[in-house]
């Protein structure tokens, strides 16, 4: 028979029947159910196994605080481990499986741990598994690891999408129970922009779980009516299925909306969840309270739940965990549960109340001054043993036991910015303290106001106070019962009574923690793992603290407080990542001629966010070296073109532009003539080389600065710092034009001839008119404005030509067409790198943030005549000592042998170890011009060791070769070619 435990009423749609599967068995449910309520309806109490002892476990709660009832939801790549059955909204075809058990839920081999629990007390592992030392990794840990964890990942990429969004409001209300709804009405009717968020799929909070009336309506009806009014307000946004996970600085709240988890499958393009950042001046926390259990012997059997959970299942979901139920309570609220269950026709075996003065009932038996001392039942509760005040015991026959030890306000978000809650004696609970996040206030039971009337009132008042409103709606009548409670945490004398059920922390573990000196709350948590499970101790922390206080002979507030960290409930990592996954992890920047390069079959490489052509293979070239060697040879023999658009470009304008550059660059710029370009060396203030590039003076008050691709952003930032913070009155303006200009290096002996074919005839670019380091504004191709720089990275006669970005593609195609007669080749970053190594130009590998101008052989560039950034600290003793590293060239003595970047240099006959390290290789390449591998390196006293033979070792790559120290300028050391 299906759904044997269904009751009447409730907020489920009986007209529709849904099918679902748990551990392969098929069951039915109705819309409005959670997986938890549906399992109970079908008389399934056993849902999972505990972490350490693999004890059989069922449901403890009906909400997001659930520590026990966790499953693996869905299948395949969408499998979602550790999902709380209490928060899974039922849909047709739902598939769930139990976890942390083998071979099956009912027969779990590791349940043997429970037999040895006495040996597995808190922290036992710190005291053993130490001998012999090697056994930890080889034996003990693998066993522990295999047993660890709860659910398992699919090991497949998450196929769903997640989104991110931003929302703003005047008042964010967190929680849509009586306080939150009343606050939303108050603020909404006053016209404020309100967001009302609740983690549940049905708004109303506990109002959906109660039978009493609000005004003239039942609680659920009043809720429905209020939600309808709020829905109609354009200034109020209702966000069900949305958990506010954290309170961050300056009124920014993180919230996760589960937009697709309740659907059998996601509509195309729709996100599974959305991470919202909600910006608000004011927030009102109406997160309610969580009922806490009492610890007693074997209090963890399936069927033992919080009393309020039983009430929720009965009233909202029309389900009872069993036809026969007992209640164990320390307060009046437990009796309310008994009343409601009785009214639904559930047999109440008895209400066991620890108070001598407990109220009596006509409907069921109340055992006053009694305590539950043990329970029995295999894989689920069958009997409860009760100690009566006269010393006798009694056995109750029941399949469910509701436990109520009082209510803990959900103060979590008040702690997220280090606020500490304070102890409230009357409630025997922590309530929000004074150090709330700025702009946050708290209402309802989250603030310790436990009655429904009180919650409604405090919600209205708090909203009015937050928004400075003078009017509030009339409050509906509602129950206003005081909290009648006797603080009662655990039953004395029990052997094994669970405090943290998921992590299997018992009362005895807490006492052992005290005995061993772990007495602060933080030590208790860390030593016993209390409160560290997936529920973060929502039902256990305070109880653990109370037990610690008792054994320490102190009050609870003297013993400590418990605070909470974000997130309020666990959040999928995918939700935090949003759409920044896969290829969209970072933006991809393409140069204007990217598509041309793609047509040419270029192989691309990531350079920061850019994609750059690495080489251009031709048919028949099977190895990348074939292509790169050819590109180098063709360029040095005739002409090659390389896309260098990615270089940073900064326009510097103003009457003080030259003086500004003079301060920013280590070398002088004040006297650079208009129409000339100069290599610029930029230092950090600590004297290390920050970047190098060129500055071209296009006019008296106009320079164009280039930076390396990698440092385009940081150099611009640095120049703005110098401009705004150091020299605020200089007449100089900066703007990044990196994206504005497409730029190409045209290099090789025929580069001028090629360019002369496209440069408009009125511009003379002959060697006389446009010598090495010249620059100018020109036009090309019949009037297209362009900038031409005669600079060379390759060491050849070379130019860089820049045109507005949108003409980059056309220019590249034109250069290729016009260059055919010269056998022009495009070349990529590899050939670029080979040629710069042949020429001894430092790049990122050499400018690694720890090198000075002196290291790079550029020491003379640091002008002593002026105060530029970095000049003073570059003079420190250790940076100018005689044995500092110097840039050198390296050649293997046997040209067949390879040089590896990252290898270390040792004296030829000396020891090979770290203390005798002489330097390292920064860059290496095969030089098709020298027919040899070559490298650049930084070597102690390198400039004085030309011709010396050294040993290059790279034990990591098993390389050990003899190399000769040579000049870093392998090709054309006199620079004749580039001046040709």
């Amino acid at each position: 028979m299906t759904q044997v435990n269904r009751l009447t009423g409730g907020q489920i749609d009986r007209d529709t029947t849904l099918k679902f599967y748990f551990d392969g068995r098929s069951f039915t449910a109705h819309p409005g159910d959670t997986l938890a309520s549906a399992l109970l309806a079908n008389n399934v109490r056993l849902i999972g196994r505990s972490f350490k002892y693999h004890r059989p476990r069922g449901l403890l709660t009906a909400g997001s605080e659930e520590p026990n009832g966790m499953v693996e939801l869905r299948a395949g790549a969408r499998k979602e481990p550790n999902t709380r059955a209490t928060t899974i909204e039922m849909y047709d075809g739902l598939i769930a499986n139990s976890q942390n058990r083998w071979p099956s839920l009912r027969f779990d081999a590791l349940a043997v741990n429970d037999l040895f629990s006495n040996f597995l007390s808190a922290g036992f592992y710190y005291k053993t598994f130490m001998w012999p030392a090697a056994f930890w990794e080889k034996l003990y840990e693998p066993i522990i690891r295999r047993a660890a964890g709860l659910g398992s990942l699919s090991m497949q990429a998450d196929p769903d999408e997640y989104d991110k969004g931003f929302r703003h409001c005047d008042l964010l209300i967190i929680g849509a129970g009586p306080a939150g709804l009343m606050a939303a009405l108050t603020a909404g009717r006053a016209g404020a922009d309100v967001i009302l968020a609740d983690e549940d799929f049905t708004l109303g909070g506990r109002l959906n779980s109660e039978t009493f009336s609000v005004g003239d309506h039942s609680a659920p009806d009043w809720t429905a009516q209020t939600v309808a009014e709020l829905l109609a307000m354009p200034n109020v946004r209702l966000m069900p299925r949305t958990t506010v996970i954290g309170a961050f600085d300056h009124g920014i709240y993180g919230a996760v909306e589960r937009t697709g988890d309740h659907l059998p499958s996601l509509p195309a393009g729709k996100p599974r969840q959305i991470l919202w950042r909600i910006y608000t001046q004011k927030a009102l926390l109406c997160a309610g309270a969580t009922e806490r259990p009492i610890a007693f012997e074997n209090n963890d059997r399936p069927g033992i739940m919080t009393a309020s959970a039983l009430r929720t299942y009965a009233n909202r979901f029309a389900v009872t965990a069993s036809p026969r139920v007992a209640i164990f309570t320390s307060n009046d609220d437990g009796h309310r549960t008994a009343d409601d269950l009785h009214a639904k026709g559930v047999k109440i075996a008895a209400v066991v109340d620890v108070r001598e003065d407990a109220p009596l009932s006509y409907d069921y038996e109340v055992l006053k001054g009694a305590q539950v001392i043990n329970t029995r039942g295999r894989l689920g509760l069958s009997f409860v043993e009760v100690a009566l005040p006269d010393g006798s015991t009694r056995t109750l026959d029941c399949g469910a036991l509701g436990v109520s030890g009082g209510w803990n306000p959900n103060v979590h978000l008040t702690c997220h910015q280090r606020g500490r809650p304070v102890w409230n004696e009357a409630l025997a609970a922590f309530v929000p303290g004074e150090n709330l996040p700025v702009g946050m206030s708290v209402a309802g039971s989250a603030n310790g106001v436990m009655s429904t009337h009180g919650a409604l009132r405090s919600g209205a008042e708090a909203a009015a106070a937050a928004l400075d409103l003078t009017t509030q709606p009339d409050l509906p009548e509602a129950e206003d019962a005081p909290m009648a409670l006797k603080p009662f945490w655990y039953v004395q004398g029990c052997k094994r009574a669970w405090v943290d059920q998921q992590n299997d922390v018992t009362v005895k573990d807490v006492k052992l923690s005290y005995q061993e000196g772990f007495r602060s709350v933080e030590h208790l948590k860390r030593y016993t793992t209390l409160g560290m499970a997936t529920d973060q101790g929502k039902t256990s922390n305070i109880t653990g603290l109370a037990i610690m206080a008792e054994v320490a002979g102190k009050s609870i507030p003297e013993t400590g407080t418990t605070i909470f960290r974000p997130p309020y409930t666990p959040v999928p990592i995918g939700a935090f990542a949003g759409r920044m996954t896969g290829k969209d992890f970072h933006p991809t920047r393409l140069t204007p001629s990217h598509h041309w390069a793609k047509e040419r079959g270029a192989v691309f490489v990531e350079a920061g966010n850019w994609l750059r052509a690495q080489w251009f293979p031709l048919p028949g070239e099977t190895h990348w070296r074939d292509s790169v060697d050819r590109e180098v040879r063709q360029t040095r023999a005739s002409v090659g073109v390389c896309d260098c658009t990615t270089l940073g470009k900064i326009d510097v304008q103003g009457t003080d532009a030259a003086e500004f550059l003079n301060r920013v660059y280590a070398n002088g710029f004040a006297k650079l003539a208009v129409g000339k370009t100069r290599y610029g060396l930029m230092l950090r203030e600590d004297g290390m080389v920050m970047d190098d590039g060129t500055a071209a003076r296009l006019a008296e008050d106009h320079f164009v600065v280039t930076t390396t691709t990698a440092n385009a952003v940081s150099v611009y930032r640095h120049m703005e710092f110098v401009r705004q913070c150091l020299f605020p009155d200089m007449d100089v303006q900066l703007i990044s034009t990196t994206d504005g200009w497409a730029q190409y290096a045209v290099a090789g002996p025929n580069s001028r001839k090629l360019l002369q074919k496209i440069v408009d005839p009125e511009f003379d670019i002959s060697n006389e008119a446009f010598p090495f380091m010249a620059c100018g504004k020109i036009t090309v191709c019949g009037g297209l404005r362009a900038r031409l720089f005669r600079i060379s990275f390759s060491g050849e006669l070379a130019f860089e030509i820049a045109v507005p970005s949108r003409y980059g593609d056309a220019l590249m195609r034109r250069l290729m067409t016009e260059g055919k007669e010269f056998d022009v080749t495009p070349y990529g970053t590899e050939a670029l790198s080979v040629m710069r190594i042949e020429k001894g130009h430092p790049v990122g590998n050499e400018l690694n943030g720890t090198t000075t101008a002196l290291n790079l052989g550029l020491g003379k560039m640091v002008s002593k005549k002026k105060d530029s950034v970095g000049s003073v600290l570059s003079e420190r003793e250790a940076l100018t000592a005689p044995d500092v590293l110097k840039l050198v060239g390296l050649k293997p003595v046997n040209p067949e042998e390879k040089i590896t970047a990252g290898g270390h240099l040792m004296n030829i006959d000396g020891p090979v170890d770290a203390t005798h390290d002489q330097g390292y290789v920064t860059s290496a390449a095969y030089s098709p011009n020298l027919n040899s591998h070559i490298g650049l390196g930084l070597l102690k006293r390198g400039d004085a060791r030309m011709g010396e033979k050294m040993r290059l070792v790279s034990p990591l790559t098993e390389l050990n070769v003899e190399v000769e120290i040579v000049s870093a300028h392998f090709v054309d050391p006199e620079g004749e070619r580039l001046r040709a």
Binding site: H250, I252, Q417, D656, E685, E720, F721, C725, F727, L873
Partner: protein, 95 residues
């Protein structure tokens, strides 16, 4: 965090890039006699206060202003935001 930009109003802090203590505005004179000591102090030593801290933020994803933000390092409360250029001028910096 939210930084109330003096020109643009409140902006999310993730639009900004942080540098450090606003004393970095007070760059010493590199030609002075004691420049080595002064620059060591300037570049390397910090008050690192637990409390109010004046610090430099750059509106990298915005208008590229450098700002001096006065922020409490214990609570993150921001009490003042100024254009670094204005601060630099009041501290005697010019050309």
């Amino acid at each position: 965090m939210i930084i109330n930009h003096p020109l643009l109003g409140p902006r999310d802090a993730s639009e900004f890039t942080y540098l450090g203590d606003a004393s970095l505005i007070d760059r010493p004179d590199g030609t002075a006699e004691n420049a080595a000591d002064a620059f060591y102090d300037y570049a390397y030593l910090r008050d690192n206060p637990a409390g109010e801290h004046r610090e430099l933020w750059y509106h990298e994803a915005g208008d590229r202003s450098w700002l001096v933000v006065t922020r409490n390092t214990l609570t993150h409360e921001i009490s003042k935001v100024e254009l670094a250029r204005d601060v630099a001028r009041t501290r005697g910096r010019s050309k």
